[in-house]
Amino acid sequence: MQRFFFNKRLVIILITLIIGFSLIAFSIVIRNNRKTPTVVQQFGNSAVGVVNQVVGAPVSGIKTVGTSVSELLNTYSENQQLKKQVDSLASEKVRNQTLTSENKKLKTELKLKSSLTNFDLVSAAVVSRAPSSWQNQLIINKGSLSGIKKNQAVVSQHGLIGRVIEVNSASSKVELISNEDSSSNQFATQVLSKSGNINGLITGYSQNTNLLTMGQITSQKKIEKGDRVITSGLGGNSPEGLYVGRVAKVEKDDYGLASKVLIKPAADLSDLEIVSVAKRAD
């Protein structure tokens, strides 16, 4: 009798393991596929997303009260600093407007309907974050109903933060650039240096230093510390001109061949409430 029970338990454990791991394999295949998840999963995720917003509203309300009190204390000194910036911003804004209209005219003259810099932003609220240190993923409250597609780039008000990896009808998952999983980080980027633009790919992230690694650089042009890095729009997923960050360090590759650029990301990846998904116009 004892032996029978032992065998039964063993069989149950084995079957659970087999089912579990085949489910894992199945979902990885789906995830790497270009298509969205299965219908059941999409529906479930959207439903849970709605409940999540209901549960999350009071909690984030309490947090908002806390932060507003602490922000109130800093308001005066911040105001002084901002006043100085506002003057220069106004002139920059006017200049920006003239340049945009000029750009538009030139484009119509060239009969260029859309270039890589054309994109629309869909803003979405971050409703949740995966409670896992291995998967830095956010859940946002917009999905395919708002025109979001898989692999689109996601930005915060400061700069690039990640890409969409799963789209449900009313919610989507965003994988942050801080993920160390190599498949997530391949953004085509460009360093705007004084000697010209240098193209490359973001190939990794180091959690210890909070720096992105940009590799695959073929150009010999000189890159300086502090140069701005933007997305280049090559490769078809992200538009051109999303701000990524500044160059923090330039070093030779492990093989001493091409240089490896370390980038300090502009966006703070741990304080995200509203993000925007960049939809390419083409």
Binding site: G20, R31, G44, V48, V55, S60, V127, R129, P131, Q137
Partner: protein, 175 residues
């Protein structure tokens, strides 16, 4: 015969604690995910252990499998890890609980063991499918330690209210 209200409250609480895990992770991301320490909120395990120790729960395995499926589909998109781990937690808790009478220390230890098991196996599965390349030493120092500390604090705060809650509804049932 009266039907226990726990029949509805237990799955509801399971869902809410699951969602709160994610909401807290997002709101306090600056504190949770730091350079050398990252905390995985596991309020769902605290809820499960308290329910199993102090409440009379129908179908704990079924509900834990459903909660695991929601966790996997909603948070990680990789279905499987939590579907296997949450029922394992239920099994472990029931197994350990058989030998003890419920007291603060005993339930606390059961909860800590469960969280250690779930965090360790979650890491194990993710390193198996190479979604992380953190070494075991890094994992123990930077994730397991802070995770246990946070969840211990959560358990201490939630112990009395949850105990009262489950005992209240379980007594109603036997009366």
């Amino acid at each position: 015969m009266r039907i226990s209200k726990l029949r509805y409250f237990f799955p509801l609480g399971l869902l809410i604690s699951l969602l709160l895990d994610g909401i807290f992770s997002n709101l306090f991301a600056a504190n949770f995910f730091q350079v050398s320490s990252s905390i995985e909120s596991r309020l769902i395990v605290v809820w499960l252990v308290m329910a199993l120790c102090f409440g009379e729960i129908d179908h704990p395995y079924l509900w834990s499998i459903i909660a695991g499926a929601i966790f996997d589909a909603y948070y990680t998109g990789i279905i499987g890890p939590m579907i296997m781990l949450l029922p394992l937690i239920v099994y472990l808790t029931l197994l350990m609980f058989r030998f003890f009478t419920p007291s603060f220390i005993v339930v606390l230890l059961i909860c800590l063991i469960d969280i250690t098991v779930i965090t360790f196996l979650f890491y194990g599965i993710f390193s198996l499918i190479s979604y992380t390349d953190a070494s075991v030493a890094t994992f123990i120092g930077e994730t397991l330690g802070p995770t246990l500390a946070y969840n211990l604090a959560a358990f201490v705060i939630l112990y009395l209210p949850l105990k009262k809650f489950f005992e209240h509804f379980s007594q109603n049932r036997s009366a």
